[in-house]
């Protein structure tokens, strides 16, 4: 169903607000799958969200620094065959527990309810 200009504008405004809080979750989710360097995190998030969640490198690095300072992620330097060492990021135990609790409280216990799933599929 094609949206009108007005509907499209509303949607884009809502998506922008909605996406603001999403990047951190998707970054941590990507690391939950496996340790990755910054570009790997960016590509995974882009791919899994079908391009709806994106960020420039600077924003990514800022977010990674904040998360590291809070002991949610840590990194190790891995030698690279083409250029300087890569920083490969991993979730810490704290990061895993907080991500798990967040996902349970805010995603799986809400969106995976049968009734809600059915409604979403009907949209």
């Amino acid at each position: 169903m094609k949206l009108s200009n007005y509907e499209q504008t509303l949607l884009e405004g809502w998506e922008e607000t909605h996406k603001k809080g999403q990047l951190t979750f998707w970054m941590l989710f990507s690391l939950y799958e496996s340790g990755k360097h910054m570009s790997g995190i960016k590509e995974w998030v882009y791919s899994m969200t079908h391009g709806t969640i994106t960020a420039d490198d600077q924003s990514m690095y800022r977010a990674l620094r904040r998360l590291k300072s809070a002991d949610i992620i840590q990194f190790e330097n891995v030698p690279s065959t083409s250029g300087p060492d890569l920083k490969v990021y991993h979730l810490t135990d704290i990061g895993e527990r907080v991500l798990g609790a967040f996902a349970k409280r805010n995603i799986s216990s809400i969106y995976l309810q049968p009734r809600i799933r059915k409604l979403i599929q009907q949209l």
């Binding site: 904040r66 998360l67 300072s69 809070a70 002991d71 949610i72």
Partner: protein, 302 residues
């Protein structure tokens, strides 16, 4: 106390220790009261000693209002000067011990209190007093030598003074954080061992704090000078100038008090690291977690 200390990364560990000191002070602001009380008690002690000095006629006032030491009482003046050294040393060490105990409590994950920290220092008062006596005796003798010998002798005296200051840097932490009472010589020997282990971290943290303090003092002085220049141009009254000078003095005092506390906390941090082997990053993380609030957490996930 035989914990392995890495020899590499001293600079980074020194910086982590400096960060820890800031965090401890932010978590336990009451520790700032210690150097403040130390200053107040020190001033009261000095005033009392001066009064005693005057009363004992060791000082003679002349008709024109000037004063001089009276003849034939040099020994008495010397004794009073030594008492001043001892009093200042004792007061600084007692309150310093209290801060150090408070900081160590925080590194252990406890919440120190002002009273608890002072109580801990009081429990070791005998050892602190003995160390203060040793320290002030050495300081006094070196001062006497300095006043009486030519330049080369003065330089040697300064070198001894610096050596003693470095060697005894951790004597107060050893006394207040040790499991039992300890004599001043034994405390100094243990202090020397710690200095040998963690000299890099000590230098970086104390030097780092010294540099930061200098920046604050210069910044404060520059702001004051600029404001005074404006006042002079605006031709404001004497009252405003006096008020500003008082504010400036209070600001300098506040900076001195805060950095005095930070220096003692940093000493505690280095001692703690030397004796437990626990990396500064570890107790930095602990401190970070204790200081976390929902408001701060929002910024992490923003």
């Amino acid at each position: 106390m035989d914990k392995t200390i890495k020899t590499t990364g001293r600079f980074r560990r020194g910086l982590e220790i400096t960060k820890s000191s800031w965090r401890v002070l932010r978590l336990d602001k009451e520790l700032v009261l210690m150097p403040l009380m130390s200053g107040i008690v020190g001033m009261v002690a000095m005033i009392m000693i001066i009064v005693i000095w005057i009363a004992s006629s060791a000082i003679v006032f002349k008709a024109d209002g000037s004063f001089t030491a009276s003849n034939g009482v040099n020994i008495w003046s010397g004794a009073l000067l030594f008492i001043v050294y001892l009093a200042v040393s004792l007061i600084v060490n007692v309150f310093g011990a209290a801060i150090i105990h408070g900081a160590a409590q925080r590194f252990d994950g406890h919440n120190p209190t002002f009273r608890g920290s002072l109580r801990a220092a009081k429990m070791r008062f005998g050892s602190i007093a003995a160390f203060s006596l040793l320290s002030s005796t050495i300081g006094f003798i070196l001062r006497l030598i300095e006043d009486r010998v030519p330049l080369a002798g003065k330089i040697v005296s300064w070198i001894f003074h610096a050596t003693w200051s470095i060697a005894s840097m951790f004597a107060v932490p050893v006394i207040v954080l040790g499991n039992k009472a300890i004599g001043p010589v034994a405390a100094t020997k243990q202090s020397v061992n710690i200095v040998k282990k963690v000299w890099g971290e000590s230098v970086v943290s104390q030097l780092g704090l010294g540099l930061i303090q200098m920046v604050y003092v210069l910044g404060w002085a520059a702001s004051f000078a600029a404001l005074m220049a404006l006042l002079v141009l605006a031709n404001t009254g004497m009252t405003v100038t006096v008020v500003l000078v008082v504010i400036f003095a209070i600001g300098l005092l506040a900076i001195g008090v805060i950095f005095s506390a930070l220096s003692a906390i940093a000493k505690a941090a280095v001692y703690y690291y030397a004796t437990t082997g626990k990396a500064p990053e570890t107790f930095n993380k602990q401190l970070l977690q204790e200081a976390m609030t929902v408001k701060k957490a929002r910024k992490i996930f923003a």
